[in-house]
Amino acid sequence: MLLLSKIKTYLQNQHLQLDEDVLINLKIQKQRAMINKDELLANELWCLIAVYKIQEKYLSMFQQLKNGQYEDAWKLLWQIEISIGNLQMNFGDEINNYNIMLINFIIKNYEKVFPEYVYLSRESIVKKEYCSICGKQILLRGGCNHIPGKLYMGELCIRVVKNIKFLGVAIVQNPLDKYAVLKIKGKDYNYQVLKCLMSQLESPFERWYVEGEKRKKPEYKNIGRNDKCPCGSGKKYKKCCLNTQKEYGIHYRITLLGRKNMKEREIKFLGRWVDKPEVSNKKL
């Protein structure tokens, strides 16, 4: 059995591949702490397991991005986001010792270079919920005192929904859960910016960041006041988008840190969608 102090030191360092024995050890030690009713230790071990899993998912996500498996990487990115949220609620300042906030910083930057996905979002009425810790139904008066998102004897408290009425589905751009990505037949999302970034990155821990600033969109540059408006309304530009916020969009600038003699290189972004390879080939 590995000493907990050794496991902690191991998790505080950056690895390109994680040792599975560390996770097995943590799980065994957590089981023991639960049997011994040592809640403090069991909760700490839950946090360390979460640290291991976040690091593991982050390494997989980087590999998937390198391999061009963007949608799979996106799912992992959101699993990491959610896990970090849970960890922040339970690990206090300790979280700063395990590269988690660095990973958080990097994934938030990755999020910005993914194409603007469109999502499906569920609308439903939740009628009955249960506590994952004690199994009791959630009641307003006289229910259990377990708080969702908090740890109890090494387990995370969540709500289990058992009675739900489905109302509908909405198409949205910013839902809370960003898993249900909507796709169009024959089209792919445009991963041009991400692809270019990944060709430059060699290690998952390489430092880089994205800045966003509002700039005039390319289609609104060099057009006359009396020309047709680029938005497609059919109106004259001067009577439509001229001098409105519609002319502006976020322009992203990616900076790779620690490189020598870097020059600014422009990536022309050609929109959210591109034809799937088989569709493009048919057109040719």
Binding site: E123, S124, I125, V126, I138, V172, L176
Partner: protein
């Protein structure tokens, strides 16, 4: 309700006829808890009607946690205007935090605003977001000397406390 935060920072204050007395007489009020409800200076009230269904009576996601949070605060007396059999939440999976509509006495408004802000700090943290990028949707009906005003806030969590502090001082002036 919206699924996403496409809202600009916005606050609206309007006169309203709704007061504590009107709430006590609503059909959704559980009569077995009417005494506790009448003693409360903060009431959590349901929204009525969603899309084509006018009869539906619901609360936003996480209302049971929010109720538990307020209920534990001794400076205010909070009750929720529903019983367990009729309690249901509308789940939209939005990146906007919806807070259930509150009916409050003016004297406790500053405390309620502080408590909502504290609740949201933890909420945003658990979402692994920062308070500037997450919007909150709040409706508070405030009663003072028989008159009521409704505050509707649609804006960032970061700006909430600052905006509401101004509102609480000027709302009945």
């Amino acid at each position: 309700m919206l699924h996403e935060s496409d809202l600009e920072n916005n606050i609206k204050i309007t006169d309203t006829d709704i007061n504590f007395e009107i709430i006590y007489n609503k059909n959704y009020i559980p009569q077995q808890y009417i005494n506790e409800i009448k003693k409360a200076n903060v009431l959590i009230i349901p929204s009525e009607g969603f899309r084509d269904d006018n009869d539906i009576c619901y609360f936003p996601e996480c209302t049971s946690e929010f109720y538990g949070f307020l209920k534990n605060k001794k400076k205010i007396q909070t009750e929720i205007c529903i019983d367990d059999d009729h309690f249901q939440t509308l789940e939209l999976h939005a990146d906007i935090i919806y807070i259930a509509t509150l009916m409050v006495q003016y004297v406790v408004l500053p405390i309620v605003i502080n408590l909502i802000s504290a609740y949201l700090v933890d909420k945003v943290k658990s979402m692994n977001e920062d308070s500037k990028s997450i919007n909150v949707n709040i409706h508070i009906i405030v009663e003072k000397n028989g008159k009521s005003k409704k505050i509707d806030y649609n804006g960032s969590v970061a700006n909430l406390e600052k905006t509401m502090k101004v509102v609480e001082k000027t709302i009945f002036k």
